[in-house]
Structures are given as C-alpha cells and as structure tokens.
C-alpha cells in the first residue's frame, strides 16, 4: 500500500512539472509582452523587461521559475496589480473560490443524492421523470446561463438575494453563484445515484435484506445507499474540478473576488506570472483531488489497488 501511494505521489509530482513547463512555453508563445500600453515607448518596455528578468535566456527563466514555484513563491504581478506580490493577491482569493466551490459541491451532492434516491424509489413515476428532466437540463444548459437566469429572477425581479457578492454578507451573497455552479453537480450526481440505486435495489443481497424483515430507512441508507455510494465517489473528483472552471465565468457575473475572475483578467492582460500561478493552482488542486480519490478508492476496495498494481499503473 505504501509503495502504491509513493508511486502515485511521484507520478503526480512529475505531472506537475510537465504542466509547469507546458504553461511556461505557452506563455512565451503568447502574443505581446505584459507591458503593452499605448502610452509606453519601446525603450521603456525594454527596460521593464530587463527589470523583471524577462530578457534572460528561456532556460534560465524556467529554472528560476520552477525553483520559486516549489517554494510557493509566485513572484510579482506585472500588469493587473503592478509590482505586488502574487502570494498576497492569492491569499484572499483562493479561500473565497474554494469556499464557494465546496458550498457548490456540498449543495450539489445533497440535492443530487436526494433527487437520485427519490427517483430510484419512485421508479417510473412523475418523480422519476422530474429528476430525469432536471438532470438532463443540468448537463445541457451552461452554468453561465443559469447564473444569468438566477441573477435576473431572484436578485433583480424578486429581490430575494443581493445581486453582487459582498464581503460583509459572504454567505447570503454567495448563494446564487453556488446554485448556478452546483446545477451540473446536481444533475450528474442525481443521474448517477439513480442508476446505481436501481442496480443495487435489484440485486440479490437487497432481496436477502428484505427477506430478513428490514425495510424503510434502514434498508435504504444502511444497505442500498452505502453500496451505491462507492462509484459515486469516483465521479465526484472530476466534478469538483469542473466546478473550478465553471467559476471562470460565474465569478465574473457576480463580481466575486475569486481565483477564476483573477485568471480571466490575467489571461486577457498578458500577465504571465499571474496566469501561470493560477493555472498552477488549478492543476495542483486537480492532481491532489485525483490522488485522494485514487488512494481512498484503493483503501475502500482492495481489488482496484491490486488490479492497478498488476497492470503497471
């Protein structure tokens, strides 16, 4: 088991390095320097490049950058917050994004599970159809469309929620973005839970449990749901990551001071350092989540670990 975890960690670290390299090369290919402004003469741009060491050979820049990344030192922003340390910028934004992301996952999982279970228990009824409609809508309609709709109906027309994110009321003002982000999670989880529950409910051991006289909530939660949950854990990982990218637009719509809004701004402004830093954090989160899913899955179900070790994974 330890060997398996170590191996997974090593691969993850290598993956991260390759990602940093690719990002670095892409940024170098991007049109323009970070210092484009109609007011800046070319000599000035050259002297700014020299100031930030961007005139050095590529491999020197890359090596320096990787060393700093390992130390979690992202350097300073060139454009969107001139000369200010990126760590300082991230320090408030990452927690906000993670909090809203977790809220969305939590909400999405709870509602998704409830819908999925209801649909499976009331198979082929109006409830089942309703769940199917919700889950198809959830995966079909882009989250920014939900965001716009929710914003218009609940914040503008009904005035139930504030329109803009506010640091004073972080929970209330994050509910609409949470909802719009969680639609996809709700849909996927509901769909998956329904299928898994139907399969489990149909299985022989549930028949056995029923024949022992267990029924009602004990049957559902202790026996059926527990078995259905294992595969659901696997879809949760990618869903969490999907949320992060969804936040790129939703954060812009609701004016949330998060990582997604900063990333979009940085990409559009050619702010190399900030773009690499935020993409690095996204990738890091993704790799960590996948790692956790992989390892915990290995712990839950030894067959998987053995199979993977066997096939050279």
């Amino acid at each position: 088991m330890n060997k398996y975890i170590l191996k997974r960690l090593g691969i993850a670290a290598l993956t991260l390095l390759v990602i940093v390299f690719i990002l670095f090369m892409m940024m170098k290919l991007m049109p323009g320097t970070p210092f484009n402004d109609e007011k800046l003469p070319p000599e000035k741009i050259a002297s700014l490049m020299a100031k930030y060491g961007l005139d050095k050979p590529l491999y020197v820049q890359f090596f320096k950058y990787v060393v700093n990344l390992v130390k979690f030192d992202f350097g300073i922003s060139y454009v969107i917050n001139k000369d200010i340390s990126i760590n300082l910028m991230l320090s408030t934004r990452v927690p906000t994004s993670i909090r809203i992301g977790l809220q969305a996952v939590a909400l999405g999982t709870v509602i998704g599970l409830i819908l999925g279970i209801v649909a499976a228990l009331k198979h082929n009824t109006i409830w089942d159809n309703l769940t199917t409609v919700i889950s198809v809508l959830g995966v079909s309609v882009p989250s920014y469309v939900f965001a716009l709709g929710l914003l218009y109906v609940f914040a503008f027309k009904l005035k139930l929620f504030p329109l803009l994110y506010s640091k004073v009321h972080p929970f209330q003002s994050s509910l609409l973005p949470t909802f719009s982000l969680s639609m996809f999670t709700i849909a996927s989880i509901a769909r998956f839970t329904r299928t898994e529950m139907l399969e489990v409910l149909d299985s022989d051991y549930i028949l056995l449990v029923e024949s022992k006289g267990i029924s009602g909530s004990a049957l559902i939660f202790r026996h059926a749901l527990r078995n259905a949950l294992i595969p659901i854990v696997t879809v949760l990982g990618p869903l969490v990551v999907g949320l992060m990218t969804g936040s790129l637009v939703v954060e812009k719509i609701f004016s949330i001071p998060g990582l997604g809004a900063m990333t979009t701004a940085a990409i559009q402004a050619n702010d190399y350092n900030v773009t690499i830093a935020s993409t690095y954090i996204y990738s890091l989160m993704y790799i960590v989540i996948m790692l956790v899913v992989d390892i915990s899955y290995g712990i839950i179900d030894p067959r998987i670990r053995l199979a993977k070790e066997g096939s050279g994974e």
Binding site: T15, V18, I22, P31, M244, V249, S311
Partner: protein
C-alpha cells in the same frame, strides 16, 4: 404407507369442494403469457427497435434533424444575409406575416422606461420605409436579421459538433485502442501524456490557444483537438483491456493477423456501442466550449456569428430587448438537450442492461 395415512387423516379429499369464486377470469390478455420470441435478428435492428421505444431520444433525434435542416436552409429563406446591416432598422422586434394579425410577433415591443412607465414601440411603422419589412426574429443593434444570424450560428455549432465526433473517432479512439492494446511501456507513456493534458483545466488551455492563434473557427477546432479526445481514449482503452485477453484475439494472433488488423478489424466492431455513446456525449461538451469562448469574447470574428457570441451580445440588452437573446439561447438549449437525450437513448439501446433501469 404411514405418511399416507396421516394425510388422509387430516384431509378428506372428498370433502374438498370447488366453488365458483375460487377461480378468477384472467381476461383476454394473452401477451402476458407469451415470451417475446424473436426471429434471429440483426444486432442493429435490435438497437433501432429499442431506440425507437425511447420517446425522449426519438424526439431529440428529430429536433436535431430539424436543426440541421434549418442550419442549411434557414439563412437562405429570409431574404437577408447574416452580415447585411441596415442601421436605420436597428433593434426591431420580431414581426412575422400572418401571425401579426393575431397580435403576436407584430413588430411591437413594450419597453419599461425609467420611472416605471411602459411604452409600446412599433418601430416598423415609425421608421421610414420599414412598413413593408419583416424580420421574423427581429434585428440586432446594427440592424442585422436575427433569424439569419441564429441559423448561421447553429451552422457553426453543428460544424463543431461534427468536428468533435471526428476528433473523438480519429484521435481519441485510436489513441485509446493503441494504448490499451500494446500495454506495458507504451501504455505507461501514453497514459502519462493523458494525465498531463487532463490536469490542465480545459478552458485555460483553450483560452491560451485562442490568444496565441488568430481567433476563429479553425482555432476553436484546434483547441478541441488538444483536449477533446481524452474521455474517448479512456473508454476505448478500458474496452480494449477487457477484450484483448479473449480467445478469439489469441486465435487471430495465431493465424498471423497484424496488430492493426486485430485492433481495427477484430476488436473495434465489438466495442462500437460504448464508443458511439461516448461520442454523442462529447458533442454537447464541444458546443459548450465554443459558447463559453464566445461568451468571454474569443469566438468567431465578426460579422460571423455563433450561438455563443449571439447570446453574449444579446445579454447586453436582455432587459430591454429580450427577443435578441431568446432565439440563440433556445436553439442552444434545444441542441444540447437533444444531443444529450439521443446519447441517453443510444446508450440504453446499445446496452440493453441499462435500458431496464
């Protein structure tokens, strides 16, 4: 003998009487008792039959057909081009001949002006030379016909859908099959590559690419090529791993079949089901990626239109002229919905085990 005796002690056979209400008339429902028996049927006929039973999927299929027809014919029938601007005719509400007489789509729009009062505008009759003009879906802020633009946008979304299928089929499937078939070091290296590509958020890759290259349809397709095939390659690889140990593959080997023959002639036909299903699911993803790019302003260049860019510019005025955002939004939602329903239906039809669920 003893047993018999006991039995006869308890039951007196002669005493059992049959009363009329002991039996119920089962009714004239013979189908309940007849097993469905099939003449030996082609697998695909079977699939088709199951697919046809799924109402949602069939509706979705027809919606897609209609959309394809509209994407081809739509821009030609209105008499306007997608780029033609008539600045005097800007922001006209929808007006359709025939329907206008019953009070809908009559070219009027009510606008809530500040202060809460509502005014009804009829730009067709207040603008010089517009009284005989018909814009079925209205016009945008430059006086372009939204009908034509919506269907041009649909055309682009569908082109992207076809591309997504090709990418899935050519890159994703090939990659997965090869990786799964050869296994060992080849598989290891190929899977590392997948892991790396997959770990960078897709939208970030795509956005960066759009900045490096000239924004446009070709770049969007390129961006899809970079990250769109991952899901399919996984499915194909998993299927290959499952099948490659089977005896008939071994048999092919012994007969001296080449690797390529085995991969594409022996294994592929047997895993076509999951592959088709996954392809269908990747279409909505691709369409969404394009819509997202357009929404952040990196889509197809003007005066071309895509559904995403139409939604994005319609959003700027959706409180004032809702008819500008609705057509592309509805078409996009319908397309995504239909592709998802068809994909669902196909999955159930190709894998009957799922259909019973």
């Amino acid at each position: 003998m003893n047993k018999y005796k006991i039995a006869t002690d308890n039951y007196d056979i002669d005493s059992i009487e049959f009363r009329p209400d002991d039996f119920q008339f089962v009714g004239n429902r013979p189908e309940e008792h007849i097993d469905s028996t099939f003449a030996s049927q082609d697998y695909w006929k079977d699939v088709l039959m199951r697919f046809r039973k799924n109402r949602g999927a069939v509706i979705g299929f027809f919606v897609i057909i209609i959309m394809v027809i509209m994407a081809i014919v739509g821009p030609m029938v209105s008499g306007y081009t997608y780029y033609e601007q008539t600045i005097e005719f800007q922001d006209f509400a929808p007006r359709i001949p025939g329907l206008e007489k019953i009070g809908i789509f009559d070219g009027t729009e009510s606008m809530r002006i500040s202060g809460g009062s509502k005014v009804v505008l009829d730009k067709y009759n207040t603008t010089e030379g517009a009284s005989d003009v018909y814009y079925w879906f209205g016009t945008d802020n430059l006086g372009r016909d939204i009908w034509t633009r919506t269907w041009m946008g649909t055309r682009i979304s569908l082109i992207i859908a076809v591309t997504a299928v090709l990418i899935d089929m050519l890159i994703g499937m090939g990659y997965g099959l090869v990786s799964g078939y050869f296994g060992g070091a080849v598989d290891s290296v190929m899977q590392r590559i997948v892991e790396v590509v997959n770990s960078i958020p897709t939208l970030v890759i795509v956005t960066l690419l759009m900045l490096v290259f000239k924004p446009g349809l070709m770049t969007i397709i390129l961006a899809l090529m970079i990250s769109g095939w991952i899901g399919m390659s996984r499915i194909a690889r998993a299927q290959m791993l499952k099948l490659k140990e089977q005896e008939y593959i071994l048999a092919s080997h012994t007969f001296g079949a080449s690797n390529m023959t085995i991969i594409f002639k022996e294994v592929l036909p047997n895993i076509i089901g999951p592959i088709i299903t996954n392809t269908m699911f990747s279409i909505p993803n691709a369409i969404f990626t394009e819509a997202f790019l357009s929404f952040v302003g990196l889509g197809v260049p003007a005066p071309q239109a895509s559904l995403g860019s139409l939604i994005s510019s319609g959003y700027n005025t959706f409180t004032m002229h809702p008819y500008q955002i609705l057509p592309p939004l509805i078409v996009l939602a319908l397309l995504m919905l239909s592709f998802n329903m068809v994909a669902d239906g196909l999955r159930d039809a190709l894998d009957p085990k799922m259909a019973q669920m």
